[in-house]
Each structure stands twice: as C-alpha cells, then as structure tokens.
Symmetry: C2
Subunit: 919 residues, 2 copies
C-alpha cells in the first residue's frame, strides 16, 4: 500500500510546480480533468507554449573526417550519448561549468541573432545563417555543405540492441525522408504539438574566428534529418570556431541546449525582440542557477531527476516584476493550498452533482486493475466478514450469525458490551438491540438534517490517525490472534504430550465397549493405559477407520499433526509474499508492465500461492467455509425481530442512552473513514457525499436492526486497501520524469461486484473451500500493516527510535523542535494506549465518548503547542485557520532570521521531502 503521505508528496509535487506551458503539453496523456474543485479555470486563459525537444549535434573528426553526430538530447532532463557503450545515458539533471555559459554569452553577443526568421527549409536557413561578413565566399560554401550534411543519430530501438543511423551519411541528401521515423521510441513520449530545437556545435579548423548564430524560426519547420525526431524546429543555434583548449564548443553547445530546455528561458526567448532580450534572458538564467562548490561536488556526478521539479512560479513572478509582463499562468501552489484544508467544507456545500458522474462510474471500471481490485477486496471482505462474523457470533451467543456483511472493530466491541449487559440483566437481546438501532437511525437522521457532517472539519490528522492506528492495530491483533488460535485447535505434539496414540476398534465378535476399562485408575500417570482384553482393533487412521465401520479410540485420534506449523508457514508466506510483490512496483527488475501487474495483483497472487502450497501438500488445514443456506443462525427466530419480545415497554425509551453512544461511534467511524478517503492528496474528482452516506447508514441501521443483522459502517482498512488497489499512474512520461499519481479509478463497479460476489458466496463454496484460513489471516496482517504504515503518526513514532543525525530531512523537522515533535507523538501514543486499554476493559461502553475525546485532546493541544507547530504537526482546526489567516501568511514573523525560501514551503506542509542519497 502506498503511503498516503507519500502520495501527498507525489500529489502536491509532480505537476503543480511545472509551468503551465510544460504541464499541458506535457507527457501525461490523460487529459487533466477539471474536477469539481477547479471552479475557476484561470489556467485556460493563457495560451501555452509547446514542449521543446532539444538536440545537440556535435561536429567531430576534424580535420580528417568531419561529421555531425548527435551527442546529447533534452526534453526535461539531459540524456547523454555514452560513446563507449553506444547508448543513451539515464536522464539526469544537466550540470554545466560556469565558463561555458559565459563563453556562450559572449559568442552570442557578437554573433548573428535572427528572431522570427522566415526560412521554410534547412537550405534556406543555412543560407541565412551563413550570411556573415567575416566569411569569404569560399568558406561560406564549405560551411553550407557541412551544415547540410546528414547528422548521425543514435537510436535505441528496443533498449538492448543499439541501432545507428546510416554509417556513411555523407552521401545522403539532407531532404531525404527519414525512414526511421516510426522506430524512435522517443517520438511516442513527446506530446502532439511538440517543437524541436537544434544546437550545432563544434570545432572547425578553417574558421579564423568563432561563429555564433541563434535563430528563432517564425514558423516551425521540419529541418530535414537535422533532429533525431522529425519535429518542426523552432530554434536553431550554431556554435562553431577554431579548435580551442578542452572541449569548449561541446560544452558551449550543452550550455545552449540546457538554456533552451529551461522553461523560463524558453518563455522569454519565444517573446524576445532583440539581442538585448536574449542576453537579458540568459542573465536572468545565470542569476538563478544553483552553484555547487568544486571541492564538495564532483562535476562528473550525474544527478537523478528529482521527484518534483522546482517551482517556476516564483521565477515567473520575478519576471513580471522586472518586465511588467503578465504571468503566463496562475500560481498553482497557493491556490492548491487554499483548497486543501477547506476541501471538506467545499464538498459539504455541494450536493446533487453526483448524478453527472454515473455513466463514468461504470465505464471507468473497464480496466484490468479493477478486476484485481475486485478479487482482492472480495476476498478481504469475505474474510473480514467471516472473522468479524465469527467474533460477533461468539460475542452475542449466536444471535449474530456468521455474516457476509462488513462490520468494524469498534462496533464489534460495542455490540459485545451491549449483549453482556442485556444478558446480565436478563433482557431479550434482539428486541433491545432493535430499539437501540431505531434510536441510532433517528439520531443519525437528525445529524443529516442538521448537516452536522460539517463537524468533520474538526477531525484533523491527529484524530484521523489516532482512529486509523487503532483500527489497524485491531486488524493486526485479530489476524495474529486468529492465527495463534489455530494452534489451540491443532495442538503441537510436544515431547511428553499426553495426546498420543489412537486405535481403531471394530465392533467385531469378542470386542465391546465395556472392555475399554482403565486399570490402575488410582494412578494418575497411567490414565492412558488400558486393558484391551479381546479387542478386535487396528492402527488404521481415523478417517479410514470410520470408513470401515470401526471407531477411532484413544486420546491421539483427535489430534492432527503438522497442521499448526504448516499454518504458520502459510501465514508468513502469504504475508511476506504479498509485501514483497507490492514492492516489485519500485524494483529495478522486469519491464514496467510486468511490475505493475505483479504489484496490482500482489494479494491475489499471494492467496493463490498459499492455496497452491496447501494443495500441493494436501494437508487438512482449516479452509474458508461459507454458509450453504440462507437463514438466520439462531434457531427458532424468524426473519424479523419482534419489537418487544420479553422486554418491558420502557426499555424502548431507555435504549436511547446506549444509542446515543453508538451514534457517536457510528458517526465517527463512518465520517473519519470518509475524511481519510477524501483527502485531497488522493485527487478524487467525483466529490464526496458526507450527508448522503450518513443517511444511507441510518437507513441501513434501521434495516439491519429489524432483521437482526450486524450493524455496519465504512470499514477503514478495507476501504483504504480498495483505494490503493485502484491507483492510477501516468504512463508516458518524458525521459526522467517520474510517473505521476493521477488519481483513483473512481467507479462503482468494483464495490458493487464485491457485494454481489459476497452475496452469492454461498454458491461459490466449492471454489472457496480450497482457500486455507491461515493464508487469509496473512493477507489480513498485510492489510493491517499496510494501513498502519501509511500514516504520518507511525513515521513520527519511528523518529523516536532514530538518532538525530539519521533522521530523514523532513520539512516538519526543519521547523519544529524535535522535543516538541516527540511530545506530540508521545501524546498521540498515550491516547492510543488509553483507547486500547478502555476497549479491553468493562469501561469499554464509554469507548465512543473516548473517540470523541480525541477531538477534545486535539483542541486542548492548542494550549501546549503554537498554531505554527500544529500547522506542521497536524492540520489546523477551523478557528485556528481563521486566526492564522487573519495574521497574514508570514508565519515565522517572530524570528527575523527565518529563511526566505521557507516562506514558500510554509504552506505546503505535505510538500516532498527531498533526500538525496549517493550510492
């Protein structure tokens, strides 16, 4: 399961900081949806610049065999031709030496600048470019021939066998149609409308002085085979000169290419009117470069593309301040933040807009991932149902059947208490429960009517995570507990264990029951020694014994050896296998399609592996069993619960009291889950329905109470697993661009199918009976661990165990003293511990109040922590938010030494943690 926090990082980073020009023409082939949150489509007002593909053709082989060769290319990042290995390097952040930029500047300052050049072909362009006074006609001719020469491109078709362009390209004419057009995989990664920029650089001995030219074509033109990808070229840059020390022109060419690949420079140079504008753009670039000292950074080290690109917003703003130009787009970071904390309230003000999504709710499900998600969640649901059903059955003396509906931990705890209470007071449980249910439904309807769901805004991360951690822990506890219970059912044959030996006794002549008498009964150690007399017996295994009409006799007949340890093996195998497969997604091995399938189907594959292992050995492990008929489990009761039963009438009024507690629980359970699932970082487009969902829960509450079915609400862990199994990621990216999280496959089909499948599970029994329970417990454990590890709270708990110097460079830790972070974590831990203890004691009836107490504790924390700290550690509550907005957006005003760069990060508490490690 991907960490939501990390998702937050992905979500808040990958795209929002890229300037609009890049973003829209960028590689994410999925159209960016204008979800309900995007009410103001400011972005669309400004025309976007096309994406630019830049190629560096270098002139090599002076003086003997001059030829152009592509040695570098840029889209977002640099790819360098590995000459020895004959392949493109991994995309990396381009690094330059400062002198090459300075040399480029002076070369351009004295060179030929053609802005809006009307050339329509390479020939025309070359003619215009070589119209320089310093060149003699003869040299001009030579230069033109050279420039029209077909360059050598490097293609890697499948990634394994490099395939070069024509080896002797000099013969080929420049306007020949490139036949390799289709083969270049880069072409597919560039969006339609992309333009090219060509940089030609090299040493040319016959030139007396350097020759620099920069051309912006009025209309982009495909310049023959000049660029590897036959895109219309917009920019052309020529940097030639007499041989110089080092690889000066190569580096200058790289500098020009890097400049052109910079979004800000691109934007400026597309609008430049003169050499002055061009140089100003170059100087603006220089003003903002990051400089690494030579003594601490190896210039040949390649820096992998960062997970998030730097914010260009500030740069554009600066540009505006300087030039008085309109910014090409709004600043996404700020707008986004405003949406963030207020998102729930936006949702809550909007209803009735969901209808428009209904068609896509089903069409979006046409993806194999949905099939995997369906299988996974179905198996999880049914296991969950059977586990909780079994627990409920235990807890309520069979009143609650082995169910195929979903119930949650806290509700189970509450119902167990309710049953104990009514049993202790000799009440008729189901009628009493009916009234509780009626009251709860009433209260919930009141909550819906008063739109009380806006209160979810008080459920900050503190409350969400406390609740989520509790639920996850219950999940883990149940998985391990159920597993260990198996060792009670299938005891391990310890040394000296008394359960040993089993005889098969036949009711043959001379043998009868009475002869199974114990001798020396007064000797305790010998309780298993018997005088067998004239028994007609065999040592057949019990099943065969029964088959042959005998009776298995002896203490060892009921023990099944090997099951306990084999179950443990299955449990660990399925858990570890699911974990490992999930991590395949980020592994280096296998093509991405294979990795995607493996990790999407991780739990299903783990279950299949467990089943295969089990089937191979054929041991009688406990299997998943589903009821084969559809009927109430408590004997003697009908489908409907009678309203009073044996209870006095006033009990229906008294039931309002527990109902109040249960309502709190239901409200919290339902809404916290909903809030977690609707976090902005999940990029849900179709909106939430807090009120409607609660209304449905209320109605279901009534129905289940009447029918005596278990009460149920949204199950946090399974819902998170559901979400996670439906993640969408971008596929086609520019080289070096990480796949971005696009959102969730929001549709209704998987959910619907899961419940239909659950409903017809009684018919699936022949298939389901092959699934061993330990395997399902292993998957349970996996879900619990995944849900637990997905919360920031656990990250902070981990900080407790880390020495300061090894802690990750979290933004949180840059701004809040470690002792305060630890204090906050400790308080959360204490709350969690208290909840766990209360849940396990008779005081558990006030458990719902304690959950509500979390909100109170969070409110009280305002006395302990400053709003500043709470903003980093948690989120702000509505009042705090208002107060901090009143104070203005500069939060660290109290200390003038704060970094200016921090102020921008300030309102991106979920911004990416950048943590570079050099292996």
């Amino acid at each position: 399961m991907k960490l939501p926090d990390q998702e937050a990082f992905d979500a808040s980073s990958t795209h929002e900081d890229v300037p609009a020009g890049e973003l829209e023409s960028g590689p994410s082939s999925d159209p960016r949806p204008d979800g309900p949150l995007d009410t103001d489509n400011k972005e669309l007002e400004v025309p976007k610049d096309p994406l630019l593909f830049i190629q560096l053709n270098e002139l090599l082989g002076w003086p003997q065999a001059l030829e152009w060769k592509e040695t570098g290319r840029w889209v977002l990042f640099e790819e360098k031709l590995e000459v020895g290995a004959g392949r493109w390097s991994a995309p990396h952040v381009p690094t330059l030496a400062l002198p090459s930029l300075q040399k480029l500047r002076s070369l351009l300052a004295e060179g030929l600048i053609l802005l809006d050049c009307p050339a329509q072909s390479l020939l025309e362009l070359v003619e215009q470019v070589t119209r320089v006074e310093s060149l003699s006609p003869e040299l001009r001719g030579q230069l033109q021939t050279l420039l029209l020469q077909r360059p050598q491109h490097h293609f890697s078709t499948t990634g394994t066998s490099p395939c070069w362009g024509p080896t002797h390209p000099r013969k080929a004419s420049y306007d020949e149609e490139a036949p390799l057009k289709e083969q270049n995989p880069l072409r597919q990664k560039l969006p339609p409308g992309a333009e090219a920029g060509a940089v030609l650089a090299g040493e040319l001995g016959f030139l007396a002085q350097p020759l620099g030219a920069f051309v912006r074509l009025r209309d982009p033109v495909v310049l023959g085979p000049l660029t590897e990808v036959p895109l219309p070229s917009r920019f052309f840059c020529l940097l030639l000169g007499p041989p110089m020390l080092g690889r000066g022109y190569h580096e200058m060419g790289r500098a020009a290419a890097v400049l052109l690949s910079d979004p800000q420079f691109q934007w400026s140079v597309r609008r430049a009117n003169s050499l002055h504008d061009l140089l100003a753009a170059l100087d603006a670039f220089l003003e903002e470069v990051t400089v690494l000292p030579p003594g601490r950074w190896d210039p040949t080290a390649r820096i992998s593309p960062p997970k998030c690109l730097p914010s260009q917003h500030k740069r554009f703003t600066l540009q505006v301040q300087v030039k008085g130009l309109l910014p090409p787009h709004r600043a996404p970071a700020e707008d986004r933040h405003r949406d963030g904390p207020q998102a729930p309230s936006v949702e809550l003000q909007r209803t009735g807009r969901k209808a428009s999504w209904y068609p896509s709710d089903f069409l979006d499900a046409l993806h194999p991932q949905c099939f995997s998600a369906m299988l996974y969640i179905y198996l999880a649901t049914i296991t969950n149902a059977i586990t909780f059903g079994g627990l409920l059955g235990d807890a309520t003396g069979g009143s609650q059947p082995l169910t195929i509906l979903s119930s949650t931990g806290p509700v189970l705890v509450f119902e167990r208490l309710l049953f104990s209470f009514s049993r202790d007071n000799s009440l008729d449980y189901l009628p009493f429960r009916l009234w509780v249910g009626i009251w709860v439904a009433t209260f919930c309807l009141v909550l819906v009517a008063t739109e009380a769901s806006v209160l979810v805004r008080y459920f900050t991360r503190f409350t969400e995570e406390g609740f989520c951690a509790l639920i996850s822990l219950i999940f883990i506890y149940d998985a391990v507990g159920k597993m260990l219970n198996l060792t009670h059912d299938y005891p391990i044959q310890k040394h000296g264990s008394p359960a040993y030996g089993c005889l098969c006794q036949y009711p043959g002549p001379g043998g009868n029951e009475s002869q199974w008498t114990r001798t020396r009964q007064n000797d305790r150690d010998d309780i298993f020694s018997m005088d067998l007399g004239l028994v007609n017996a065999s040592l057949l295994p019990p099943p065969e014994c029964v088959q042959r009409g005998g009776y298995p006799r002896g203490p060892g007949c009921h023990t099944v050896p090997d099951i306990a340890f084999f179950s443990l093996l299955l449990f660990f195998t399925s858990f570890l296998f699911a974990m490992a497969l999930k991590h395949v997604r980020t592994s280096r091995f296998f093509p991405s399609v294979v990795r995607k399938v493996l990790s999407d189907f991780s739990s299903v594959l783990a279950i299949l592996l467990g089943c295969a292992l089990d089937a191979y050995l054929g041991l009688p492990t406990p299997k998943l069993t589903v009821p084969r008929e559809f009927k109430p489990t408590l004997p003697g009761r009908g489908w409907l619960v009678s309203p009073f039963g044996a209870n006095p009438w006033w009990l229906s009024v008294v039931a309002a009291l527990p109902a109040l507690l249960l309502s709190i629980l239901i409200f919290m359970d339902q809404q916290i889950t909903a809030v977690i699932l609707n976090r902005p970082e999940y990029k849900l487009r179709k909106g939430a329905g807090f009120h409607l969902d609660l209304f449905c829960v209320a109605v279901l509450m009534l129905l289940t109470s009447v029918l005596g079915l278990p009460w149920y609400v949204s199950a946090t862990v399974i819902s998170l697993a559901h979400m996670d199994s439906l993640r969408k990621e971008s596929r086609a990216c520019s080289p070096g661009e990480p796949p971005s999280f696009l959102g969730i496959r929001e549709q209704r089909l998987t959910g619907l199918m899961v419940f239909i499948l659950t409903g017809v599970s009684i018919f699936l029994a022949p298939v389901l009976k092959f699934i061993p329970m330990p395997v399902l417990y292993g998957i349970f454990l996996y879900m619990g661990v995944a849900a637990l590890s997905s919360i920031q709270f656990i990250k902070r708990v981990q900080l407790l165990l880390m020495p300061t110097k090894h802690q990750p460079d979290l933004l949180l830790l840059r701004h809040v003293p470690l002792s305060r972070v630890h204090l906050f974590t400790a308080i959360q831990l204490a709350c969690l511990g208290l909840l766990w203890i209360i849940k396990s004691t008779p005081a558990a009836i006030i458990f719902p109040l304690m959950l509500l107490g979390l909100v109170g504790v969070r409110k009280a924390l305002e006395w302990v922590f400053s709003s500043q700290e709470l903003l980093w550690l948690d989120e702000l509550m509505p009042e705090e938010e208002r107060s901090i907005l009143d104070k203005g957006l500069e939060p660290e005003h109290s200390f003038s030494g704060s970094d200016s760069e921090d102020s921008e990060l300030m309102y991106q508490p979920k911004a990416p943690e950048i943590n570079i490690s050099v292996n």
Copy 2:
C-alpha cells in the same frame, strides 16, 4: 556481508580523492598505516594544511535588538541552523546562488584585505579591521562594540534537547571563557591542530556603504567566544552593509564560508600575498563550480554528502600549470591504480616480512568484534565440518569420519570419485589415498619451489568469480538439500498417510510377541490391522513406554510429528533474521553502537534466536552432535594408514595421475581463495603469503594422508565470512562524512581460537547439543547467499533482468555496449553451468582441469573482446596489461568524441557508481 565491489568503491573513493591536507588532518582518528604497498612515501614530503572549521555569525534584529547568531557551520559540508526547530540540519553539500558569489567578489575587491595580520586577540583584530577611512570615529566605536559582542551559538548536547548559549549575551564580555567548551560534540569530531575561520555578515542600518574585510591571521588565535568551538582562528571575514533586498548579506556570508571550506581555495588563500591572489583564487573557484539550471533543480533542495568526494588532484594540477607552483601532494588515484592489478606480484616478491607483524597479530584481537567473529566462524566451521564430514562419510563408506576439520566442495567431489574408483577396482582405499596425498604434497612443494604462485596473476576476476560462484552455489545447494533431507527423516503426516498409530506393549502376563500376528495378510490394504488378542498394552508415547519397560509397537511409533515444518520454520527464521540483522548496520534506527553490535553479531544472534525458539517449544528437532571420543571412525583401523595395505606396489606410482589432477584442484582452490582475500579493496596491511601458505598446505596434505584425515585447503565462503566479520570502519568523522572502511582486523587469534575451539568441541558437546541443525543450515544458506551476492558477476546477471532504463548508472555500462556486457555475462553463466554439470556427472574426475580451463576461457575471450572492454568487464591479464601500457593511457583514442572527463575515470574501474535518487 558487504559486497566486495562496494567495498572496492568505498576503498577507492572515500579517501584517495581528498587532497592530502584534508586527508591527514581528517577525522579518521586511526593513523593511516603505511602498509607494505606504500613503498614511496611522497605524501609525507609536503607539509599539510590544518583542517578548517568555518562558522557564519549573522547579525540579526536590526534595528531594535542587534545580536550575532551562528546560523551556519562548515567542516566538509554545510550544516544550517534550523531556526524553527532549533537544531542543526543534516550536513549537506552547500549550494549557492551565483549573484551572491559575484557580490562577494566585488565587496572584497573594494574591501580591506589583511594578509598575515599580527593581531593576538579579538580586540586587536577588531581594531585593525575597523580602521577604515569611510567610517567616522563615532561609527567606528559603535561597530567595535558590536563586533565584540558575544555571539549566540547553538549547541545540541545530546541531540534531543537543544541547549542555547546565554540568552542575553549582551552583558557577557567577549573574553569570558566559554564554559560550554566540553559539551560541544563537534569538538570531538575535529582533529587536533584544526583551525577556525569566522565569517561575520549582516545588515547594519547605520552604515552608509558596504564594509568588507578579509583577514588572514599570521598566527592563529582563539578569538574569545567568536566561534562555537574554541579553536585558534586563522581566517576572519566581515561583510556588513546597509539593508538590501533579499537576504543579501546572509547569502554573501554563506558564499564566503563555502569558499573558505573549499580545499583548493583554502590552499590558495593560505599562500596568497595580495588582493590579486585572493581574487584569482575566487575566480579559479568560479571557473570550476558546477551549475544546475534553475528550471530543473530546486535551489532549496539539500543534497546529501556524496559517498566519495570529487578528485582534487586535477584541480591542483591545473593550479600548478597556471601558477607554476608545486602540487601539494602526489595524485593518489593514478598511483593507486598502478598498485591495483600488480598487487599480487608485489606480494609474491616479498617474503619473510611477516615476522614483524606477530605481536600485533595478537594485540589487534583485543576487540569485541573479534569475539563475535570467533563465535560465528567457530559455529560455521563446525557446522561446515559436520556437514562436509557427513557427506565425506557417506561418500567414502565411513573411511572419512565425522570430522572437525574443514574441507571444501570441490575436494569433496574429487574424493568421492576417488573412492568410487578404488571400490570399483577393489583397491584398498586409504593406502591408495595415502599415495595420492604423498604425490600431491610433492607436486605442491615443486610448485612452491618454482614460485609457481606467480601464476595467480592469471586468475582474473573472471576466474575468481566463476570459482566463487560455484563454491557459493554448492554451499546453498547443500544447505537447502540438507534441510529437505530432514523432511525425509521426519516425514510430514499427510492425509491418508499409513504411518499412524502406536501402541505400548508390556511384557505382562498374557501378552507375548507371537500374538502380534497379522490377519488377512492377503489383503494389501489391511497390512496394519492386527488381532491384538490378549495384549497388555497402553497408548503411552514411545519414550515413556520404553521408560516403563514396554515396547512401542506399530507403524506410527517411529514418526515424530511437527518436526519437519518446525525445522523449516527454524531454517527460514534463522536465515531471514541473520539477513535482517546484517542490514541493521545501514538502517536509520538506533545509535550506531547498537547497530554495529547487532550486525556484527548477526549470525550468532540468529543462532541464539533459533535455539531459544527450539528450547521454548521443546520439540525433538535434530540437534548438532559432535563425537564424544577421539578415535578413528572406521572400525579396525589404527591411527596411521599403512603404506600399501592390500594394494600392489605399482599403485603408488599410478597414484601420481589422480594426484596431478588433485594438485591442480588444491592449487586453484587454495590460491583463488587467497587472491580473493588479498584483493586491494580489503586494504590488508600485513601482506599475503602465497608461497608459504601453499607450503603449509603441502605439509598438511602429507599429514592428513598418513592419518587418514580429510584433505583440506582454504575454504572460500567461510574465509570471506571471517573477513567480513572483522571489518574496521572509521568512527569519528566530520559531519556528513561517511564512515570509511579502514581495513580488516588482521590478527591470528580468531583463527587460532576457532581451531582450538573446534578441537575441544568434543568437550563442548553438552552445550552444542542444544543447537538445532535447521538453524545451522539457515546460517549456511545465509553465508552462501552473502558470498554469492558479493560478486560483480551476480550484479551483471541482474542486469540481464533489468530494462535498460532502470539499470544502475555503472561506469561499466557507460563504456561497454550492453550487448557486450550481456555476452560476457552469458559466457560466464555458461562456464558456471558447464562446471556444475561436470561436477554432477561421472566426468567429474576432470573437474580440476575444467577449473583450470576457466583461465583458458578467459584467455580466449581476448579474441572476442577488446582489451578496453576486458578492462571494464574484468581485469587485464599480465600480457594485456603490458600491451595497453605500451599504447599509452588514453584508451578511447579511436573515437575523438569521448569525454575528457572519462579519461580520468578510465583507470578507476572500481570507482564509485554515483547514483543519486531523490526520494
């Protein structure tokens, strides 16, 4: 186990590229030994500059409450004060904005430059610095008071509770002794002789124009409480001026500090005679900075310190070229490389120097790590001995006892064949073997006499890794095979398994043996049904039955349930636990001491865990058993083997033939292990003894043949595990500097103790009998996997499974086409497969020749691959090396487009792979 390749990276990187000034005064508190390889101590000729600690004090609080506050510090990397969190950031590569460097340059150009300032105290210094014409006397006074003000330092004493200097420091006088001297943990990380540099920067409203001053003190002086650490200051830089846009002075101060922390700048500025020299040094710095484009790199991102610092050698050389100055040190990288491939031959020319190491051979063992290593290797050896002993016993019909000496896979294979041969030909095995041994000893002595060990130079990485992979695979195969064999001894009780039921029969009245008669013998299905008649029996478990004088009867008496799966659980637990603990070393959790102990003791802890689990459940798992008496196992033979036995005399001559093959095997096995262990990357100081070791092996060969003990040579896997358990790493490092691999605790005590312990193992039986065999098999598997994963070959095999774009950025892949790399790997795989097949067939007798064939295959590869490619993929054989040295050091001369930066990397094939990932 740390990957040797990675170690090679560590070894070749961490120190060698740092200029000598940094290196010697650096934080590695261990004195750098001048090992036998360092014959020419050129480095010592040049005096080294002391390490510099630089601190930035910023003037904050203008205009109300002016105070100096330390906001940054530098040793190798930058640490920034996290104002909000009140702690130091993690050390990171400093990044600058270009304008701040340019502003600094102009400020210094117009400012006050005092080189060799004779000031003896802060007071004197401040007086000299403020002697500027532009200041009025009044302002000068104000400024002096300000400069004498005690700055606020930030100390973090334990890493959790930040503790600030005096909160109201204005009252404190400057010359007050800092009482916090002892508390600052940074002090311990700086070597003796370190100097300080103080940069003071800030905005001062009353100044009309900027004030810049740069001071180099003639004699370093402790400038009162100016610096956090009370070191004598060498440099002082003051940057003050009227308020400006942004945090100009802060950034300028950072730029000055970064400059001062650059080794090249430091070196120049220590020798500068004028402002011109200073500015030239600054310009030289600017020439070499790495520039990151603003559009592709977030300037606020922090770059973690690289594992290896960039080579300063080239920079110094450049300096020399420009200034005609002597380089301060030799270029370590090149010298190092020369040593690399020729190291064995250097070793081989040197003997008799080992005596001088004898005292340290025992004194160096006084470290807890050695205790862990001893326990680990002892347990590994004894397990290995028992496993191989058992196999040898099987293979030679008991002639080879359960041994406590170490034998290796290939020798085992050979001996098995020898035994089959002599059995098939009705020969007396042990006398025949004696003669083989005598011949082998003779051949080995000849090899020693002819110094044939120089031939190990033909064992390139190709041969080493092929052999090592084979041995590791045999290890893994044996571990898994032995484990699976257990399930034969302890069969799983499958459904319908016939082995069921067990009775305890007492020899009481009425019961006798004859009554255990089978009825219906003709019915095959009923072989277990018996007429028990008047048996006096019970269902007691077999052990108790025997205790009470009964006889366990029935097919189920010999089966022990649950053992098979429990053994599997123990096997996997110990394997996974050992793996996990080994990785604790690089985890973020726990203080480094804890991590070190956990990973050093990983195998011992895993064995203990397995024993504890086993003891807790008390199941009768198979345990480690050692012989309790010291005697030959083959009944009827004496201690010495008779020279002829029943064999004809001429057999002693014929024995020379197999002896020839065995000699090759012994030579290869012994010497390849020795070559692997003596690789330069392990930084062994005490030299190897190829000849002496072979001599010892020859003598032992003779002894063991006479005594009928197994033949043994150096065991690769256990020796590697031994080396790995004795790794030394530096402890005290500058902030951000990774701990460097210092070498191996070379001593004789662990080895000696292991064999003494092995010898007295017969007395340790009462303790050893608690160790379950599955646990030891798990540790075996761990050792095999660790040894296998430590070789570059496996990394290349992994490349086969990786899509091109996900492959790590190995230097290898930058220079050799992927298809060639894959071809090389495929050839190695084919060789390995062939060896495995031959080992498993009757043709195994020629196995030693095949091993030797690896060298031939490698030689033949010269026809397939160029020397260039082989240099990257393997190492060069002696002739190739000579030929490539003749051709000169520029290897890629054939293609003029090669990168200039590559030529330096060229001769560091094991240089670090730089692979930055941004999380």
